[in-house]
């Protein structure tokens, strides 16, 4: 029986959602979830990680992992007594788990940073904020990447 367009799209959609398109064949290293946890513990130490306050704005599906726009914001009054000290962003499956550390202070006025990042694969991106009372807050989001970055061959 010939495959109908509807069936084909259904299958293609399923593959994309499952993130199993085998784009990257040569990947010497990747940040495993264990490396991700180690990188997070290096920043957080033994402190408790709480869910909330932090927000990541990133496209849920990106075609090109080489430049993925990302904004991280934290709900904070940014006063001298209650502000965000730093924002740390991590990934799960790039060759290295760190993306960036961003240091703020009360005169930042707004706890928000934007940059463009590389993602080597469909994976989880984690942002952690350290507040002035040394509490840590985190959020994680899943990004589907169709064209990987970082490990492609140099032409």
């Amino acid at each position: 029986m010939p495959t109908t367009r509807r069936q084909f799209l259904g299958i293609a959609g399923g593959i994309t959602v499952a993130g199993t398109i085998p784009i990257v064949t040569l990947r010497p290293l990747e940040a495993t979830p264990a490396m991700l946890n180690t990188a997070i513990r290096n920043v957080v130490g033994e402190a408790q990680l709480r869910i909330g306050k932090v927000k990541i704005d990133i496209p849920p599906l990106v075609e090109n992992g080489n430049t993925v726009p990302m904004t991280v914001s934290v709900a904070s009054p940014m006063t001298a007594d209650d502000y965000v000290k730093s924002i740390h962003v991590f990934n799960e499956k790039n060759p290295q788990p760190n993306i960036g550390n961003f240091y703020l202070n009360p005169s930042s006025g707004r706890a928000q940073i934007s940059t463009r990042i590389r993602l080597a694969d469909t994976q989880k991106v984690v942002a952690i904020a350290r507040l002035s009372d040394d509490s840590f807050w985190q959020v994680a989001t899943e990004v589907v990447v169709t064209l990987a970055a970082c490990t492609e061959e140099v032409n």
Partner: protein, 105 residues
Amino acid sequence: MAALINVPTKAKRGDVIEIRTLTSHIMETGFRRTMGGALVPRDIITTFTCRYNGTEIFRADLFPAIAANPYLSFFTVAKESGKFEFEWIGDNGYSSTASASITVE
């Protein structure tokens, strides 16, 4: 190296202003290989700092996961007229600076 800086030229005292910076840099990850299989050495910007009339107001540690030609946007409170100074430091002794002025009323 060329840097694009976007800072409001004028602001009211106490306003929260956005600062956007873009600098040209390859940000070679150190994880890529040539067709021959040789690893291409890492060459990235590792630190970005912004000072406002001499006081550090924002700093970032960058890793290979930051895209080429690093773009950064962040905020600060306009306190006084003066100068923002930007500095990028990286591998192989890379260093680059830029500045922008603001008038605060």
